[in-house]
């Protein structure tokens, strides 16, 4: 019987047989009566059968667990969709346009730097870089226009926009964040879908788009605009374009990159802008209010998911979240 179930783990069998032998000999050492002897053997048989059943069950369970672990890998981790494809596509166009504009714009502003000369030599002169800059501008204008359409025409857009509107709570969150930074409080502010950091980023881009596209168009179609505007208006446009360009570049490279990618929690890259997904742990850490809202909408209890955050250790110091 044991052989059939265990399927040949010889050491176990040898061990069991040895134990039977040992038990029988020990019991029989001083009992010599034939009838007694048979009773003892029967009793021992029954006891050992029980013992064997228990051991087989344990081995079975171990094997089953091992097989299960091998076939079904990680425990399922819940993820939330943070950015839809529509949103990510806009971000991609914005990203490529901005990088193009920065790369071709900064050498004009910092024309005295050696690297600017190097850049223009590389691309083949200022005419080529001007053309590339304008291609980037078309991308920026297109995504700006599409975004306005998105805000108006998609329910998702309208919902996101409402959640991006500044609220008094954002100011309170900012103060709470500083208290937390300075160690006056151990509680980070609890953010909804968009933290004040993300709202700042969004509205900074809004302001930047208005300034850059407005002044850029004046400079692009200079001869047309000078039909209606005095030259000093074009000079102001140029100054604003140049200065706001630098401010936007600094904000993107220092602020946006740090908060999204370069902070110790996400370094070197946060993948949310690629996949649109955010893990349950991050959701709980960075957007607790939104998380609770979603769970409530799904009729789930907040404590429910044991898998979330499991195996990740303590919830790490949560930085400003993804945007």
């Amino acid at each position: 019987m044991p052989e059939a179930v265990v399927g040949g783990p010889d050491p176990l069998r040898v061990e069991l047989e040895g134990e039977i032998q040992h038990a029988v000999e020990a019991e029989l050492r001083d009992v010599l009566d034939q009838e007694q002897r048979e009773r003892v053997i029967a009793r021992l048989r029954a006891e050992l059968a029980e013992e064997i059943q228990v051991r087989i069950a344990r081995v079975k369970a171990e094997l089953a667990a091992e097989l299960l672990a091998r076939e079904a890998p990680a425990p399922v981790r819940r993820e939330f969709e943070r950015f839809s494809w529509n949103f990510r596509a806009q971000h991609w166009i914005l990203l490529t346009s901005c990088l193009t504009l920065i790369v071709t714009g900064l050498p004009l502003k910092f024309h005295e730097a050696r690297i600017s000369q190097l850049f223009f030599d590389l691309v083949g002169g200022v005419q080529v870089s001007t053309l590339i800059h304008r291609i980037g501008a078309v991308g920026l204008i297109a995504v700006g226009a599409y975004h306005l359409f998105y805000l108006a025409a998609f329910r998702e857009g309208r919902r996101n926009f409402l959640k991006l509107l500044p609220q008094p709570q954002d100011v309170r969150d900012l103060f709470q964040m500083f208290r937390y930074f300075l160690g006056r409080s151990e509680e980070r502010p609890r953010f909804g879908r968009f933290s004040y950091v993300e709202k700042f980023d969004y509205w900074a881009v809004y302001w930047g788009m208005v300034v850059m596209i407005g002044s850029g168009l004046i400079l692009w179609f200079l001869e047309t605009t000078l039909q209606y505007l005095p030259k000093f208006a074009a000079d102001i446009a140029r100054e604003a374009h140049s200065d706001e360009g630098l401010l936007a570049t600094l904000a993107i490279i220092i602020w946006h990159f740090y908060n999204v990618h370069l902070n110790p929690e996400h370094f070197p890259m946060n993948r949310t802008f690629l996949t649109g997904k955010i893990s349950e742990a991050e959701m709980r850490a960075h957007h607790p209010l939104e998380y609770e809202e979603i769970l409530a909408a799904r009729g789930l209890s907040i404590q429910a998911p044991a898998g979330a955050g499991h195996g990740e250790g303590p919830v790490r110091s949560p930085g400003p979240p993804t945007s």
Binding site: D235, L247, A251, G319
Partner: protein, 354 residues
Amino acid sequence: MAMRSGRIGCLVLGGALGILLLAAAAQAMPKCLVCHGKRTLSKTLPSGRVVSLFVDEKLLAESVHAGRVCTDCHSDITAIPHKGEIQRVSCVRCHFKGNPVGAPQKDIYVEYARSVHGVAAAAGNTKAPVCQDCHGTHGIRPPKDPGSLMNKIHIPETCGRCHLAEFSDYRESVHWKAVKEGKKDSAVCTDCHGEHTIRAHTSPESSTYITRVPETCSHCHASVAVVGKYGIKTEQVATYGRSYHGVAIKFGGKTVANCASCHGVHDIRPSDDPQSAVYVENIPKTCGKCHEGANANYAKGRIHLDPTKREAGLVYWVSLFFKWLTISTMVGLVAHIGLDLFRRLRRGKVAHES
């Protein structure tokens, strides 16, 4: 061995010949003047043009070449009456770097040979000037001498003998006006075009090539020592350099304006002269050379603009606004980042200790 002795022989022979020539030269001047001292001596060229062959002894005696004798330069003349065709004097016999006879130690002849004039002359253009056309012949004087053809006051005229139109334009310019008034800092032809290095303005090597004009003008117009003392602004070159025109031209733009595009070339006038291309009422027309449909709006605002100066008006305030917007925003953002990092590090430390 045979070759070496041959060389030595040559040297000895050459030396002897040299001594003989020197001896002859001491005698040459009076001898030549027997004929060339006569004012009536002339020759008729095949073209029918009559060329005077009279040489004024005084001219040579007062020139930089005083002390030289006729055959020092006219070295192909060895007999009287002269035999064969008489060659033009070649100045490079003495004017080269390393010459032993006391001529300036400069390689100007090499420079000249590469210039637009030298190249044309070498190609057989008989109208192209050689040394004598600009410097004169027997009466060459140092450039500082007011009687020199190369004296600042005479250069426009010297060049103008061939470049008539440019000369007449130049005579209208503020540069010429200043030179006439004795302001030797002002520009004549050679200050912009160079001397022996003159190139066609279409050559990228030229100091008047489209992309090199700003640099050429900057030699004087960015210098307080040159134009500053006449009360002329010296920041115009820098403000141009910061304008789109200036930046684009620096990086190879060939369709943007340089100084001359607006201010004119030879007939540059002060901006308060109604005939000036940059006179306020002429600005639409001047800008219109490149910017189609330029109107009076082009004159509403400064051209040479420095946004960091208060005189830039609104642009100054916009510039100031962005400056402080950038500084305050970045200080705030960087502080936020710094505090965030500080908090993370502290938390990490606490976690580590516990």
